[in-house]
């Protein structure tokens, strides 16, 4: 833990406002970082890349309908679409002075500009809207940087990733940094990148957010999972997005 703290101190010093931004150090160096789809079978990748056979498009299609519905529709403001927007999330919201993810931004839009209520996390409507917005950045590189405002979120997200938890006493890093590419029973361990989410998972036979996936990760090591949409998960999502920066956004991805 002491070594970890030292590591974050170093990152903190490197990202002070006076110095130019440099990428934080991650256990997997940038040139070795690969998308989760590299660990899937060619058939699954083909299904993901086929705009018709990818079941995630059921949600994208519903999201497109929701986007143009109502008197104060999303489309009323975002006439030219939202290409590339999802690659910059989670991002700092100056109004609330907090870090928000794409789901949070959609809900902020609803309450601030549309006079609507926030949608519950993981509801079909919020998932569909998120999928529709994320899909418009499909194939673009994720581009999230640590700024002075998001430094503390990055650190707490990183700490969550590095901390052993649960009855199995495992940290995310032990599988996804130290042992990726190896077999865990029938599965190849991925690097744990977030670039496919929201995604369709075969295990769920359903479409779900990154937070639902994180909830499953925590349950998998028999730890007490956090609430979907909680600040802990948003911080972790931010850490993962910085870690996955440069990888193509694949949402709606298909994962095992």
């Amino acid at each position: 833990m002491r070594l970890l703290a030292a590591c974050f101190l170093f990152v903190g010093a490197a990202c002070s406002p006076q110095t130019t931004q440099r990428e934080p150090d991650f256990p997997i160096e940038a040139s070795l970082r690969v998308s989760g789809s590299s660990f899937l079978t060619p058939e699954t990748v083909a299904q993901q890349n086929d705009d018709f056979e990818n079941p995630g498009y059921l949600w994208v299609e519903r999201g497109a309908d929701l986007f143009e519905q109502g008197e104060t529709s999303c489309e009323g403001c975002h006439k030219n679409g939202l290409e590339g927007v999802a690659t910059h999330y989670p991002a700092f919201d100056t109004g609330t002075q907090t870090l928000v993810n794409l789901e949070g931004r959609i809900n902020l839009c609803r309450t601030r500009h549309q006079g609507l209520t926030a949608l519950p996390y993981e509801s079909d409507q919020l998932l569909s809207l998120t999928a529709f917005v994320a899909e418009q950045s499909r194939g673009l590189p994720i581009s999230v940087e640590v700024t002075p405002q998001t430094q503390s979120a990055f650190e707490s997200g990183g700490a969550y990733f590095m901390t052993r938890r649960g009855q199995l006493n495992l940290a995310c890093t032990q599988c996804h940094d130290d042992n990726w590419g190896k077999q865990l029973r029938g599965d190849t361990i991925s690097q744990g990148h977030s670039n496919g989410f929201p995604a369709y998972r075969f295990e769920w036979e359903d479409f779900g957010s990154l937070h639902r996936r994180l909830h499953d990760c925590d349950t998998g090591v028999r730890a007490e999972p956090m609430e979907l949409g909680s600040q802990t998960y948003i911080d972790l999502e931010f850490y993962l997005a910085v870690r996955a920066s440069g990888l193509e956004l694949e949402s709606p991805g298909i994962r095992r």
Binding site: F52, P55, L58, E61, F202, E205
Partner: protein, 106 residues
């Protein structure tokens, strides 16, 4: 609301063999699973799929509990005349969903 996605070519040459694809959002609950309190989750599946080409049945399929959620079907038909393809899914209780797509044959 159930979302249906269809893939039918808009145009085809007479006699051409065309690929048709259809996907429907459905949980296809097998009836073999148990919930978190140990209660059995009741079966809820689509049992029949039919495709009509200008009213004539050209393809049908029976679904069983082993079929995955959000089933997708890919099959072929010979384009003989302009008209519509109608896709119909029927579940175990007789409820059905349908959608259609037009094709121009020249």
């Amino acid at each position: 609301m159930t979302t249906i996605r269809l893939s039918v070519p808009e145009t085809a040459d007479r006699g051409e063999i065309i690929e048709l694809r259809a996907m429907i959002q459905h949980e296809m609950e097998s009836g073999f699973r148990f919930g978190s309190r140990g209660e059995m989750i009741p079966q809820d599946i689509i049992t029949k799929f039919e495709c009509f080409y200008n009213g004539t049945l050209v393809f049908s399929s029976d679904f069983h509990p082993g079929v995955a959620a959000n089933p997708i079907l890919k099959f072929y038909a010979r384009a003989n005349e302009s008209g519509s393809f109608e896709f119909v899914w029927t579940d175990q209780n007789g409820q059905s969903w349908s959608d259609s797509a037009q094709i121009e044959v020249s």
